[in-house]
Subunit: 136 residues, 2 copies
């Protein structure tokens, strides 16, 4: 049995966030002590780890809810789960290539060595979109 602080330490999820997840229905309301404090079981710990990990991978709260529903029916086909992972993957890849374009442009901007704003590339480049290497 863990207190909420203990659970927080073990999962790396902040205390208010745990309570928020409970409110959102992602985790069940746990048993309470006589003094009304939450006490979590190993199961609660596992579920929260699942959630944390999924969030880190970029799944939204709603998607995690779906995944949790899926995992509650282990006899069913896992197509849905795979589709979700594939969507996540595609999204992550899109974000990567977008960021790489930004990286190139910021590198270009940073390379300038003018001494006053008047002839400095940062403002110039940001002001005039047509100067960009790539569209975004």
């Amino acid at each position: 049995m863990f207190s909420i602080g203990e659970l927080s330490r073990r999962t790396g999820v902040k205390i208010p966030t745990i309570r928020y997840y409970e409110q959102m229905g992602l985790i069940a309301a746990p048993d309470r002590t006589e003094g009304n404090q939450r006490r979590y079981s190993k199961d609660g710990l596992k579920r929260l780890s699942f959630i944390r990990h999924s969030r880190e991978l970029g799944f939204s709260i709603d998607e995690i809810r779906e995944l949790l529903d899926l995992s509650a029916h282990p006899e069913q086909p896992c197509n849905d789960a795979h589709q979700m992972a594939a969507r996540r993957l595609a999204d992550v890849q899109r974000r990567i290539s977008r960021l790489q374009r930004l990286e190139r442009e910021l590198e270009r901007i940073s390379a300038c060595d003018a001494h006053t704003i008047a002839d400095c590339a940062v403002i110039e480049t940001l002001a005039d979109h047509s100067l960009c290497e790539t569209e975004h």
Copy 2:
């Protein structure tokens, strides 16, 4: 002179977002028609393009405010602007490498070809963090 809709079309910034920027003090309140509708000048267009472009590069509203302040004083040194670009760049690079780790993990997850949830990698992998290749 552009209407707000025209400005929106030309910059790709949505109408409510333009009004929001005005409220936040990022763009000046423009002149109005007799009937109280906003009318923008070329300058307004330029400024909004600057803002849009900066947002796309990941600058926050506050950072953009700073950049706009800087550009209003072109006689000053541009160190600040460069520092901001450099910070942005470092941040973008961090985000890229983080996403690349997620990409690898999601690829691994998606590669599974089980037929039911019970022996499917998605849920498994998400549930047990220790299975991850890398820490995150």
